[in-house]
């Protein structure tokens, strides 16, 4: 059995000494291969008597397993140290700036319209649209603004050339003509908002010849000033994301509503810093009122049966207030620096359940 022990210790020593996986493989072949030393010994077992064969066989099998395990362990150890050695040579500069991934922006006007749709959509409004080039009837007359009405002069209307019949088209001065188009087309009850482009011949620091308005219209048999207040207070608080935002309704005048109300929100200008919310000041943000009976009648809706309210506001204005954009004119300048700064990432889709803005 000395010979057996010698084989064992020699093999173990060789395995321990193996410096590479190639060397280890040679040892494995020399011991356990077809002509390996342990394999040869196994072959020699046949010559022994049964008892001796059993004993020697068990010992040889144990030796074989032991050597195989030792080789495996050594192989794992060698792999680990080879990996270590490789890793030691593999380095990148992780401080490198990453590859640029282009990301565009959504214009604040589009984003604000999406917010408006999210809020009013939740209240059961649908979005209506209409042409920018309008006729006199839809833009003025049907809205109870007769030709000589002072309000018509205040609208700074853009005109297109006179037609042979003396009529002339205008660029719509507000989104209200879409109210008329909707009431002429659809039967009440109605609940629409109309975001869109509007045009007035006025250009200075606070006026742009093109700007955006959103119009709202509710027509049914029961909605009254209390509902108007409920709807608009809810809108203001959600849009500006100020839960206790004070909202004030003041009597006013529009030819197409009666009674009419202007709506102010609370703000403060303390220490030269403008803030929306409870404060000492008020800021006018929208006009509203119960739809004038004449307007209903002009659209073929019986004012003795139906009533409702309408409202309108400037989209740029509420966007400026909410997002702190200082200058109206910059909205249309397409300055990439401005668009990237004030624009919204494309995945920031406003919704009421998911939150209006990130």
């Amino acid at each position: 059995m000395d010979d057996f022990e010698t084989t064992r210790s020699e093999l173990k020593a060789a395995i321990d000494a193996a410096a590479s996986r190639e060397a280890l493989e040679q040892i494995r072949v020399a011991a356990l291969g077809r002509k390996g030393s342990i394999t040869e010994r196994m072959k020699g077992l046949g010559a022994l008597d049964p008892d001796a064969r059993r004993a020697a066989g068990a010992a040889l099998n144990a030796l074989k397993d032991e050597i195989a395990a030792a080789i495996e362990a050594a192989a794992a150890r060698l792999s680990a140290s080879e990996l270590q050695a490789r890793l030691a040579t593999e380095r990148i500069d992780v401080s490198l700036p990453v590859r640029p991934e282009p990301e565009g922006r959504i214009h604040p006007i589009s984003q604000t319209i999406d917010e408006l749709v999210a809020i009013f959509g939740e209240m059961g409004f649908t979005v209506a649209e209409g042409p920018h080039i309008e006729d006199d009837f839809h833009n003025f007359t049907a809205l109870n603004i007769p030709p000589e009405h002072p309000a018509r002069q205040e609208h700074d209307t853009f005109y297109l050339p006179e037609k042979p019949d003396g009529s002339r088209r205008v660029l719509r001065t507000h989104t209200s003509p879409v109210q008329i188009r909707t009431m002429l087309r659809d039967k009440p009850p109605l609940r629409i908002i109309v975001p869109g482009r509007t045009f007035r011949n006025d250009h200075d620091a606070t006026h742009s010849p093109m700007f955006h308005q959103v119009e709202g219209l509710v027509i049914d048999k029961t909605s009254h000033m209390g509902h108007l207040k409920g709807c608009l207070i809810e809108f203001c608080r959600n849009f500006f994301d100020v839960e206790d935002l004070p909202v004030r309704f003041r009597p006013s005048y529009f030819p197409f509503t009666e009674p009419s109300a202007e709506v102010d929100i609370g703000c403060s200008r303390a220490n030269g810093e403008f803030k929306i919310g409870a404060g000492a000041d008020w800021l006018e943000i929208l006009g509203s009122g119960m739809v004038h009976p004449k307007v209903l009648a002009n659209c073929g809706i019986d004012p003795d049966e139906y009533q409702g309210f309408a409202f309108g506001m400037g989209i740029e204005r509420i966007a400026m207030l909410k997002y702190g954009i200082p200058d109206l004119r910059t909205f249309y300048e397409s300055d990439l620096r401005w668009l990237r700064h004030y624009g919204f990432v494309p995945l920031d889709v406003p919704s009421m359940v998911g939150g209006l803005s990130r």
């Binding site: 959504i106 059961g124 979005v127 088209r169 409920g230 003041r250 009674p259 620096r337």
Partner: protein, 797 residues
């Protein structure tokens, strides 16, 4: 409309503080735009007595004064030449801010002498430009009094915005009436006592307009023996406070009554009228030298007051120079008339002439207040200028104004949202001047003569609501008709949103540009029909409705490049206009990329933008818009503003859905934009919105068998569109072929003249069994044969 608090209180008996009055005005719909407290900055300044004045020991032009401030005697160094012992002046103690320059007064030594305050000039107080000497007050002025009170400046000026319907509030009395109705004090009634004339007016009035509307009623009265001079202090103060310059008693009285009781008047110098007054339309060629020093050319649409010699004044708008009252005027003719709002407004607009009279006439004046106005004016003139009045000349008659409306008693609740008790409804309406009677379960309401704006039940509801306060309307949630909201957007609207966010996620930045542009540029993009040229453009370079969005985006790219941003990608989704009908307006998603794909970067040198990037944008937009991508055909026949060889059109059947490609170099040069610029225009309205029934998707069949890839390279004619080859390859076996990818395009050395090489990978996906070598070989031969036939090419060996 401006008034002072004390002026308001001359019509309203109230103890309410100014803040409360302002709050109630706002709640009444009379928006207070500002409250100017003119006295605030002057509050610390007091009257003082100069006890002694001695020369300054170290300065020739200075004096050392001992000043009695009412609170002790202080030493003050003063440089004013008029400072002297015994005078009374205005003293500023140490610590106050000088209004003119904002300096805070400090205790100081002036040339070695202590000075404890300052004697002020009216320049330093911001009261005038006179800074020659210090203010000198009358000798009887008490010492230590507030200078503000002495000046009468402790009377805040309210600037109230009157909505166009409230003509009745263009006089202080009307504002007071609203406040009284809302419970802020008691309205002081106007005292109108007719004054009997002692003689018949020598000047008579004839109404000679074609119809009666331009001037339905004209009252006149002569007052002789008047003496015109400066008006008294109280009248001057009121006019000055609201920014009017006092002129003379006669003129100031007419201005005052315009503002006080909303009754514009005109006073002619009667001695300068030749014959009678005739109210008529102006004749062509007539002119008026107006009181404002300008000459106006008149026309037949304008109502004038003339005498035998010609036009004297423009009815309801402005008086004329020739009959203006002067210091010498001793006999006047007062005009109190009604002029048609529409004609007055038109006249003013045409002449670009604004006046307090026009402002009121065009909004409509109280037709029943002409005679009372005349009496009030007469009384004031007699009081301030003396004289002897004639009887009143009356021409025409007041138009009928009495109208009655039915007011359902529950309308404040059902329309206004607040239930008001019947007696409160009645109280409010009566306080506003309405007659209210009961009839048939509703009120029958007669609005007063001064409320021509009330035209029906809804107006009456508004009156009650605003007097009661909008705050008092209970807020009611707007209930939805369904438990969950329906989609707010139509399919087309939703798709537009997808397109917007898809393009933005591809790196394009959204812009919003004007719907108008310069006609010269528009010509380069298809041109503009004459009906789309604005009659009154804001400027010459924004004179037509745009036929395409691209020119505006190109201009934006140029501006951005000028700012140093030569590389960029922007888009806009908006309208373009083909004609002036609603159908002529199309929604287009247009965008462009210019310069390089990006700035230099260690990992990517970047490259110039190319037409296929714009094609990718167009395809992405079309996919987001729901266009059936597989059925799109690409044609190389772009519109003229694109590069003829580097642009294309995407069609669905005969309908063009999009253009894309490089912008024509000549257009870039004309617009001064540096290339390359690639662009796309996607016509969102042209994308069909029809949806397959249901939202279910086709069953997904996942094959368990290994897919096989084979590569083929073909030599084809150089002009062959790659699309032709790809379609041919896909068509070989639609069931078996999962995908065909073009992986190489080569033209040049090593190839026969006029040929290019297109190499494709074909992915085969069997569904029933793994493909055998024989099957693959058979497929390859079929593919090569069919592609060669369709393309006129051959397999590259």
């Amino acid at each position: 409309m401006k008034t002072t608090l004390s002026w308001l209180k001359s019509h309203l008996e109230t103890e309410a503080p100014v803040d409360e009055i302002v709050r109630r005005l706002v709640m009444l719909g009379l928006e207070v735009e500002s409250v100017a407290d003119r006295g605030a900055a002057l509050a610390p300044f007091r009257t003082a007595h100069v006890v002694s004045a001695a020369p300054h020991p170290n300065a020739d032009k200075l004096q050392v004064c001992m000043v009695d401030t009412g609170d002790g005697i202080l030493q003050v160094v003063c440089g004013a030449p008029n400072a002297r012992a015994g005078m009374r002046g205005v003293f500023a103690p140490v610590g106050v801010t000088i209004p003119r320059n904002g300096m805070v007064l400090k205790q100081s030594k002036i040339r070695g002498v202590d000075s404890n305050g300052m004697l002020c000039s009216s320049w330093e107080l911001g009261l005038s430009d006179d800074h020659v000497g210090i203010i000198e007050l009358p000798g009887e002025t008490p010492i230590g009094e507030s200078f503000v009170t002495l000046l009468g400046l402790d009377d805040p000026v309210l600037d109230i915005k009157i909505t166009p319907n409230r003509a009745d509030c263009l006089g202080v009395h009307g504002i007071a009436r609203d406040l009284a109705a809302a419970g802020v004090g008691k309205l002081r009634p106007l005292i109108v006592e007719p004054i009997e004339g002692g003689f018949d007016s020598p000047t008579w009035v004839h109404l000679a307009t074609l119809h009666s509307e331009p001037c339905p009623l004209f009252l006149g009265r002569t007052i002789r023996g008047v003496k015109n001079g400066p008006s008294p202090r109280w009248l001057q103060d009121r006019l000055t406070a609201i920014g009017l310059r006092p002129i003379s008693a006669l003129v100031d009285i007419t201005n005052f009554l315009t503002l006080d009781v909303d009754r514009p008047l005109h006073v002619f110098d009667a001695d300068r009228i030749k014959g009678d007054l005739i109210v008529r339309e102006a004749r062509p060629g007539e002119t008026l030298a107006a009181l404002n020093g300008r000459d106006y050319a008149l026309d037949g649409e304008m109502t004038v007051i003339a005498d035998d010699h010609g036009v004297l004044s423009l009815g309801g708008v402005i008086g004329g120079e020739s009959t203006a009252c002067t210091e010498q005027t001793s006999c006047v003719f007062i005009e109190a008339a009604l002029f048609d709002p529409v004609r007055t407004a038109a006249t003013g607009r045409k002449l670009n002439l604004q006046s307090d009279a026009r402002y009121r006439f065009e909004r409509g004046l109280d037709p029943a207040f002409v005679a009372p106005g005349m009496e009030i004016a007469t009384r004031l003139i007699l009081e301030l200028c003396g004289g002897e009045p004639s009887t009143v000349v009356v021409a025409g008659e007041a138009p009928a104004w009495r109208r009655t409306f039915r007011l359902r008693k529950d309308r404040t609740a059902t329309l206004g949202g607040v239930a008001l008790p019947e007696d409160e409804q009645k109280r409010i309406l009566e306080a506003l001047g309405c007659g209210v009677t009961d009839g048939d379960g509703a009120f029958v309401v007669t609005p007063p003569s001064w409320r021509g704006d009330i035209e029906g039940e809804a107006d009456l509801v508004e009156e009650m609501l605003r007097v009661n306060g909008y705050d008092a309307i209970p807020t009611v949630p707007l209930e939805r008709e369904t438990a969950l909201p329906k989609p707010a957007l139509t399919v087309a609207q939703r798709r537009t949103g997808f397109v917007r966010r898809s393009l933005a996620s591809r790196g394009l930045v959204e812009a919003v540009t004007y719907s108008f542009m310069a006609s010269g540029d528009a010509e380069k993009f298809g041109g503009v029909r004459p009906e789309l040229r604005l009659v009154n453009p804001i400027s010459a370079d924004l004179d037509v409705m745009r036929p395409s969005i691209l020119p505006n985006l190109l201009a934006a790219a140029r501006r951005n490049a000028d700012r140093g941003l030569a590389d960029g990608a922007i888009f806009e989704i908006g309208p373009q206009y083909a004609d002036d009908t609603p159908e002529g307006q199309a929604t287009v998603a247009a965008g462009l990329r210019h310069g390089r794909t990006g700035a230099k970067h260690w990992s990517d040198p970047g490259r110039p933008v190319d037409a296929l990037m714009a094609k990718a944008d167009a395809l992405a937009a079309l996919a987001a818009a729901g266009a059936p991508g597989d059925n799109l055909q690409v044609g190389s026949d772009p519109p003229s503003w694109y590069h003829p060889g580097r642009a294309g059109t995407l069609r669905l059947g005969p309908k063009a859905l999009a253009h894309f490609g490089e912008i024509h170099p000549a257009i870039l040069a004309q617009l001064d934009v540096k290339g390359p610029v690639v662009a796309f225009e996607v016509f969102l309205d042209a994308v069909p919105t029809t949806r397959k029934s249901g939202r279910g998707r086709p069953i997904l069949k996942l094959s368990p068998f290994q897919p096989v890839e084979r590569d083929f390279a073909f030599l084809v004619p150089e002009a062959l569109p790659a699309e032709t080859l790809l379609r041919a390859a896909r068509g070989v076996d639609r069931k078996l072929i999962a995908e065909v990818r073009l992986f190489d395009v080569y033209a040049g050395a090593g190839l026969p003249e006029g040929r290019k090489s297109l190499a494709i990978t074909v992915v085969l996906q069997p569904e029933d069994a793994t493909l055998t070598d024989e099957q693959i070989e058979a497929f390859s031969q079929k593919l090569v044969a069919q592609v060669a036939k369709a393309t006129g090419g051959e397999l590259r060996r």
